[in-house]
């Protein structure tokens, strides 16, 4: 217990229950900071609950109960952190909490199920869960809402069993149990009548995967609003797909214009893209620092936040940029001071494959338990292009490029080059000696490369540690089983002892 990293056996905080025994003691300064942020998050949630419409939604939708665990969610992702990393983490996760409450409030505001405002609903365009939202940048009078994110994506991150009810509903309907739990959960949500009924139209996309495409098509039976299906090329690097993809964007914009009566506003679009580009520049700075001996914005501090601002916000929310500027400032200071993230960095790792939503805090465990420093993850290694801020024709191609490079499909589609080859390039750039290979067993895209990864890993002399999981269903592969995959490799192949032995095996099967 103390100010220093790894000064407390963190595994002792787990007692086999839903919650931890107590919160971590990080020394006076850091614990005080953590406490103030905890108060802040409760204040955000209390403000949310004071709105009658939100309160109605809370008691209408089963998935809302997942958000009871928000402070625990923040605790999990800040576990073991001290100093600048703790501050960066809070900057990100607290922002996510605030942003999520806004998204849910937008959903409930127009939700017909709970007597929402139909006028507001007419100004809402629904987007798929895993889909870039950049076309809406040109419609400042409309609000884009990714309806499935709070119930499914966040539901599973908040509680490891957060979406099991919906998964079971989909399986009872007849959807095979081997499909990816994300679209299956979304479908279950539709079957269970648990979607807020909001929005004047829906934009679907074939991101991220074949299952996602199928699930969305079927669940539309529940919604009586026009839909547009944005087809994004699978082999998006191929030149001949570019015109096709740009035309799809044009068709999508026309659909929104025709459905809502709004006109695409190029000034608004370019303004948002300017913000987006600024964010990209900052992200590139983060990556540069991550390649040094003193990485700062890494592990849990990249993954979920990058999803949020890259995909969901898309440059529309200036708050994200301000937040990132502050993070970058902290990062530079910490780098100058050569601040380490863990007491001992034994391995530098790239996380590849799709992370387990029900164990999104796994990178924290890697660094706290074994001193494996996760530098960057596959889902965060999306586009770092700087997009046009004044060329209208180019903008269609830019948007098409972004849609193709959505977080979850950027490397699972696109072919061997982006899915396999790039990994070894990143290993070199980041000087990583370990690849934590998330094997999402239901992901039909990445598992097809299994053997090739093994062969190439051997050739490149990189330790490839396979960590199987089932994205949102911990019943298939538990968190403990995920940890055991690493433990076994570390002990039997690398003959190492853990930094924090109390974390090697944790009784968190019942935990959030």
């Amino acid at each position: 217990m103390g100010k220093k990293m790894n000064s407390e056996p963190l595994g002792k905080l787990y007692n086999g229950g839903v919650t931890k025994r107590r919160r971590e003691w990080r020394g006076i300064k850091d614990t005080w900071y953590d406490y103030t942020r905890w108060v802040g998050n409760w204040a955000t949630m209390a403000k949310f609950m004071l709105n009658v419409q939100n309160l109605k939604g809370f008691f209408r939708y089963r998935w809302m109960s997942n958000f009871l665990s928000v402070p625990d969610f923040v605790d999990r992702h800040t576990e073991g952190l001290r100093g600048p990393q703790l501050r960066i983490a809070h900057k990100e996760f607290d922002f996510i909490v605030a942003h999520a409450t806004d998204t849910i409030a937008n959903l409930f505001r127009g939700d017909a199920n709970i007597g929402g405002d139909p006028k507001w609903s007419k100004k809402v365009v629904i987007f798929d869960e895993n889909m870039m939202t950049h076309v809406i940048n040109g419609f400042p009078n409309l609000t884009a809402v990714t309806r499935e994110i709070p119930p499914i994506y966040m539901g599973s991150v908040m509680r490891q069993d957060g979406i099991l009810h919906y998964l079971d509903a989909a399986e009872e309907y007849g959807v095979p149990s081997d499909v990816c739990p994300m679209p299956a959960g979304e479908l279950g949500l539709a079957i269970e009548d648990d979607y807020p009924q909001v929005g004047c139209c829906i934009i679907h996309c074939n991101t991220t995967c074949d299952g996602s495409l199928m699930g969305n098509g079927i669940e539309d039976r529940r919604f009586d609003v026009p839909t547009f299906e944005l087809a994004v090329p699978i082999r998006y690097l191929d030149e001949e797909t570019k015109d096709y993809a740009a035309q799809e964007i044009k068709n999508c914009i026309k659909f929104i214009e025709d459905t809502t009566g709004e006109k695409f506003d190029w000034d608004a679009y370019f303004k948002a893209m300017h913000t987006f580009n600024e964010e990209t520049r900052l992200f590139l700075e983060w990556l540069d620092v991550s390649k040094t001996d003193y990485p700062q914005v890494v592990g849990n501090n990249v993954a979920l936040y990058r999803d949020a601002y890259y995909q969901v916000a898309g440059g529309r929310d200036i708050g994200f940029l301000k937040n990132e500027q502050e993070i970058t400032r902290i990062m530079h200071e910490a780098y100058e001071a050569k601040t380490p993230i863990v007491s001992e960095v034994r391995h530098r790792a790239i996380l590849w494959g799709v992370q387990a939503q029900y164990y999104s805090a796994f990178p924290a465990w890697l660094q706290n338990c074994w001193g494996i420093q996760p530098l960057i993850d596959m889902l965060s290694l999306t586009s770092t292009e700087i997009y046009s801020e004044d060329d209208k024709e180019q903008a269609y191609y830019d948007m098409a490029d972004l849609y193709a490079k959505e977080n979850m499909r950027n490397r699972s589609e696109g072919g061997y080059q982006v899915g396999v080859e790039d990994l070894w390039r990143f290993c070199e750039e980041f000087r990583a000696d370990v690849v934590i290979m998330y094997e999402h067993i239901a992901c039909k895209a990445m598992t097809g490369y299994h053997g090739l990864f093994e062969e190439e890993g051997r050739k490149h002399g990189v330790h490839v540690i396979w960590v199987p999981h089932d994205l949102m269903d911990p019943r298939t592969v538990s968190r403990e089983e995920m940890r055991q995959s690493v433990n076994q490799y570390m002990r039997t192949i690398l003959h190492e002892e853990p930094l924090d032995p109390s974390l090697e095996s944790i009784d968190d099967g019942e935990a959030w």
């Binding site: 309907y173 007849g174 959807v175 095979p176 081997d178 499909v179 990816c180 679209p183 479908l187 679907h204 074939n206 995967c209 074949d210 299952g211 495409l213 199928m214 699930g215 098509g217 079927i218 539309d220 839909t227 299906e229 087809a231 090329p233 699978i234 082999r235 998006y236 191929d238 001949e240 797909t241 015109d243 096709y244 035309q247 799809e248 068709n251 699972s412 589609e413 072919g415 061997y416 094997e439 067993i441 239901a442 039909k444 895209a445 598992t447 097809g448 490369y449 299994h450 053997g451 090739l452």
Partner: protein, 422 residues
Amino acid sequence: MKDLKHLEYFENLLQESNNDLVREAKEEGRKAIGYTCYQIPEPVLNLPGCFSLRLSAPRVGGIEMGTYYMTSMTCEYCRALVERNLEGGYQFLDGLIGAASCSQLADAHENMEKHGITEREGFFIEHVDTPMKSDENAVNLIKTICEKRILKPLRENYGIDTGDTALRRAVEEHNEVCKLLNAIGEYRKFDNPPITGYEFAVLTLATYTCPKDKLVKKLKETLKELKTREPDTDYKKKYRARVLVAGSEMDDPEYIKCIEEAGALVVCDRYCFGQNPGRNEIILTEDEDALTQVCRQNVMENQCPRYMGQKKIQSRKDYVDKLAKEYKADGLIYQQMKFCNFWGYERAACSHIMRDDYGWPVLSIDRPYVNANSGQLRTRVQAFVESIEIKKIQRTQDASRAQGADKLHRTREVSKMQGGGR
């Protein structure tokens, strides 16, 4: 029923990818171009000097190597392709068009490429995107892909004539085979069809896996034979229900045999490697280039569940409903190869929608790539056939009860009119 004269001949052609007709065509100097998905317009690969070959892995045993490379959680068709390739089973190919129609197939092609397919001079492999919507933008995409990724290497590597006239000739050949097969298929509409689903599946599959021109003679003779072929007299006893089989890729006619042995005659199909819509004729006009028209038909008639859009999704159900009515089916069997994402969802949805919205009895099954002798499949089909029979009996009883009630009602009316009512 007496055996079809050429059935064994056709069956033998399905025993391996590099079959007698493929070898014969190659000896003539023609190039064998493999492909794996309906999304690639077939006539483009059947230009004079080359022929298309829909890849399968006949008689594949274990797929351990395929499983090592792609894990046990992926489609067995894809794993079987990888396995067969590692065995050197596709060395005779002169080209492979790998459609990225689904992630697993795309991965399978890349696995095949990384391990090497053949050392043949001029061999090329192209990984291509394919559309997912039935609109003109999609037509343009597949047309561009055909031009750049198929016609160009055919022209440059093998000197194939890829001009409009050559393509029109390929379409003519395609249509000739389709016409013959569809004429044979017409017999399946008969109350007592002189051809079984299994026999038809063998013929259909052969049209995908052999040079088409080399099948024409035998198909013609088979069509002629059917005109006089006497159907089984115990047809009603042997087949207690007529079914349409829909679903994912199926290149093993043994499955159809298994279904028929369990008492359900397969009178129509709507699966990959099947008749509908793969064996539709392509109607060309003179006012537009052939390639655009071929691509448009492929995109517009496509029935693959990967096609998005509510209209398209609904039209898939309407299409199956129309076929089932046309072929006088009593029920539908939706089958899905295990781990197929597209059909996993489509099958689940159709098992509800086709029953609730269209009134069809539906059997929904998932199955491995090969294992036609599955006792489980047999039992499920038997139970399905029985349920169809029970429904038929119930319908008859309901009808006669309604008739009886109607008669009684009329008698009462008459007696009322005659003043004899109570």
